[in-house]
């Protein structure tokens, strides 16, 4: 897997510390590294991305090569230390992997990490394949160390989740770290030193751009004297390789988008009259080449997202690029044609839903029942439980970013004081960025109900351990950090811990908290269904009156209609028993 290649590349580069926070499509980097670790590398799931980068920064100050991993929206969380670290610089190589997600397939935004590199004025590498990712991450460490700068590394989903074979060394060993040498002029950020560092960075970047001009992953293919060229980067390069077969277009690929390898580009663009820029996410290369063309008065027509030739949003593919390339230079791409399927039977709509037996379904349902007929708002957050928005639960009114639900419930309270305002948050998200929001509510006297969906894992991204799990990434058993004690310590006036699959008790606990003033909390505690042995499936007895209340109320995929009758899909049902508690005639048995 591409993420595996990144992990093995970092281990090959002698990394001594790896820290990160889970997020699709980046999560498997740390998991792979942990699997290959002989104990000589410190590997951790940090509490959030900011923490991960700060842990790594200090290790790097001590001369240790360090890797930080996250998804693109995680880089927003880590941006505070990153911007300052760009000024202060590093000692041991420090690479920040921020995985972008064109589509987006499993993300809130289609933001572009290359822009972040330009914004922070630090170098970025952009691999097109898992093979390249393995080599490039090693180059990234070398550049980081040579120029004493943090380096960004930007794979995208299709690179992260792609596969390739790579040759790895027989043994990994961390590069020796000399240890932290005190030097306040260097390691303590101050306005005066930042001025000097700013000058240094802007002197260094053109130098780096010159070095990148000779870099092996900045490549030109096709006819050297072609008047038409395509400029690309990342996985789009791989699609284009297939699509341009048989044409004489020149293909220019940039593997180091910042600092721009200007000399390389000027040479590659010599004689080119028309340039098509093909890239995912933002028109970064397109705008960079516009600047370059302006500065050097290049007689060049530049096409791309700005001219409407390439879509702004969504991911590219050979299919999506074929007509675009054909319109530009004609394409002999011999990929087959899609058959006409207009006579196919109607296909079912299949949006993602909470798993059968997921305790979150029970939690949402309990709050829904408790608040029936009352004015209430429900703030959601980032995790599997964002899926609580689906019908028939319809229990997520807002979802913005990690931890936002807790603070947004307070904003809703100030603007809608006659409503009860709930914040749903999972345990990992609570540790990552929910706790400060609770302090904010207590300090500012807001009224809100915190609903902590505690399944003791980070389910959405593949069950990574978190501070509440009692286990670290390397499998060490540690003391569980109990959210109840945290909330008690903060001064939350009422905390109710309840099993959401006990519907009656759950509804009562929600009502109790909703009716109590100040900040209250319901802790719904039940393990993720994907991590426990499934129970016996439910059975529907003869006295079922086919009212279908179970299906209408909870929308569990384990309940289906077969031959017009309510039935249990035994391959999905875990016997959680929620439907049995909803059934008005007691016809569902578990």
């Amino acid at each position: 897997m591409g993420n595996g290649a990144i992990a093995l590349g970092a281990l090959s580069a002698g990394v001594g510390l790896i820290a990160g926070y889970p997020g699709t499509p980046s999560s498997e980097i740390i998991e792979t590294a942990a699997k290959w670790n002989d104990g000589s590398v410190h590997i951790e799931w940090s509490v959030n991305e900011k923490a991960a980068l700060e842990v790594a920064a200090a290790a790097s100050y001590s001369g240790m090569r360090s890797l930080v991993t996250m998804k693109q929206v995680g880089l927003n969380v880590a941006s505070d230390p990153l911007m300052s670290l760009a000024y202060v610089g590093v000692e041991g190589g420090l690479v920040v992997v921020s995985a972008d997600d064109p589509g987006p397939i499993s993300s809130q935004t289609e933001q572009d990490t290359r822009r972040f590199a330009e914004f922070a004025r630090i170098p970025v590498f952009d691999p097109a394949t898992p093979e390249e990712a393995f080599q490039m991450i090693q180059d990234a460490f070398a550049v980081s160390e040579k120029y004493h700068t943090p380096v960004l590394f930007r794979p995208t989903t299709r690179v992260c989740h792609g596969y390739a074979a790579v040759e790895i060394p027989e043994q990994f060993s961390p590069k020796p770290a000399p240890g932290f040498k005190k030097d306040t002029a260097r390691w303590v950020i101050f306005p005066r030193s930042s001025y000097l560092n700013h000058v240094r960075i802007e002197t260094r970047n053109p130098e780096l751009g010159r070095e990148f001009s000779d870099y092996r992953y900045n490549t030109v293919e096709g006819a050297q004297n072609a008047e038409k060229a395509i400029l690309t980067g990342g996985v789009s390069y791989a699609y284009l390789k297939e699509v341009i077969k048989g044409t004489d277009v020149k293909l220019i690929r940039v593997g180091t988008p910042f600092p721009m390898p200007e000399n390389f580009l000027l040479k590659a663009l010599a004689g080119v009259k028309e340039l098509l820029c093909v890239e995912e996410l933002s028109p970064y290369l397109e705008e960079s080449v516009q600047k370059l063309a302006g500065i050097h008065h290049l007689p060049l027509t530049i096409r791309g997202k700005r001219t409407g030739d390439v879509p702004h949003a969504g991911e590219n593919s050979a299919d999506s690029l074929r007509p675009i390339v054909a319109a530009f230079v004609g394409s002999n791409f011999d990929g087959g044609k899609a058959p006409d399927l207009s006579d196919a039977p109607a296909l079912p709509v299949r949006p993602p839903v909470l798993c059968a037996g997921c305790p979150h379904r029970a939690s949402f349902y309990a709050v829904k029942v408790a608040m029936k007929g009352k004015k209430a708002n429900f703030c959601g957050d980032i995790g599997c439980y964002t899926l609580g928005n689906a019908m028939p639960l319809d229990m997520v009114d807002t979802c913005l970013c990690m931890g936002a639900g807790v603070t947004m419930a307070q904003g809703l309270h100030w603007a809608n004081p006659d409503s009860v305002n709930f914040a749903f948050i999972g345990d990992s998200t609570f540790f990552a960025s929910g706790m400060t929001g609770v302090v904010n509510a207590l300090y500012n006297n807001a009224k809100m109900v915190l609903v902590l969906l505690d399944n003791s894992t980070t389910a959405m991204t593949g069950h990574q351990p978190n501070p509440g799990t009692g286990k670290t990434m390397m499998g060490d058993i540690v003391a569980k950090i109990d959210p109840v004690k945290i909330l008690e310590g903060m001064g939350v006036s009422k905390i109710r811990v309840v099993n959401p699959l006990d519907l009656k008790a759950a509804v009562e606990a929600v009502r109790d908290c909703a009716e109590t003033d100040g900040v209250t909390a319901v802790i719904f505690r039940s393990p993720c269904i994907a991590g426990v042995k499934p129970g016996k499936p439910a059975e529907i007895a003869e006295n079922c009156i086919q009212c279908k209340k179970c299906i209408r109320e909870i929308g569990c995929p384990g309940l289906v209609i077969r031959d017009g009758k309510v039935a249990v899909d035994e391959s999905l049902c875990n016997g959680c028993g929620l439907c049995a508690q909803v059934c008005p005639t007691g016809a569902i048995r578990v």
Binding site: I105, H161, E242, G336, K337, P351
Partner: protein, 198 residues
């Protein structure tokens, strides 16, 4: 060798494991592999696909009309992904519909039969498999993914040698599930042989 294999179905059917097994086996056979999987939020009960491209390709996504084999774990999903199948491609498909919550909510229930009929009409080689029947001996339909792999293997649709795939299954599944998955693979292979003999 140049094989584009598309796996499709519903999140939770074990499709990612089969695509990993195919990719690992192809690499063990000395082939280059490019592959893409649905991971994360999209996989929870939604439509999922995995693309496995063995040999000759550069990119991870199978273009329209290029897949030589489709392993469909759900009949409706097979129809949905038919545009990717090559004219002479093979479809191995589960005969059992997975009902989406949206269908149950609207009081409807969509049927597998029209989907299977459409597939048979449009595709030359369709092999249907019944998860309940084939997994009866295994005690759970959770192993149907490896049964499907066994069918593909025996049909010669993966282009991969049997012993390499068998070894990948052994290497890639947790020790306590090794034996049952090896058995699932055999059941798939024997199922193909039994229908091929007819």
């Amino acid at each position: 060798m140049n094989k584009d294999i598309l796996l499709c179905g519903v999140g939770g059917q074990g499709i990612v494991l089969v695509s990993k097994l195919l990719a690992a086996s192809a690499m063990a056979a000395g082939e280059t592999v490019h592959s893409a999987e649905t991971i994360g939020m999209a996989q929870r009960g939604g439509s999922v696909t995995s693309h496995v491209r063995i040999g000759g390709s550069y990119s991870p996504l199978i273009p329209s009309g290029c897949a030589s084999l489709m392993l469909a774990f759900e009949p409706g999903e097979a129809v949905r992904n038919l545009p990717l199948l090559r004219k002479d491609g093979t479809v191995i498909v589960s005969n059992t519909a997975v009902m989406p919550v949206t269908a149950s909510l609207s009081g409807g229930s969509y049927q597998a039969e029209p989907m299977l009929e459409f597939l048979t009409k449009r595709v030359k080689k369709v092999i249907t498999a019944d998860p309940g029947e084939l997994c009866a001996e295994l005690g759970s339909v959770r192993y149907f993914n490896v049964v499907m792999l066994g069918i593909a293997l025996a049909a010669g649709a993966t282009g991969l040698p049997e012993e390499i795939v068998r070894e990948s299954v052994k290497m890639r599944v947790p020790e306590k599930f090794r034996e049952i998955n090896a058995k699932a693979l055999t059941i798939g292979e024997e199922y193909y042989k039994s229908i091929a003999a007819k």
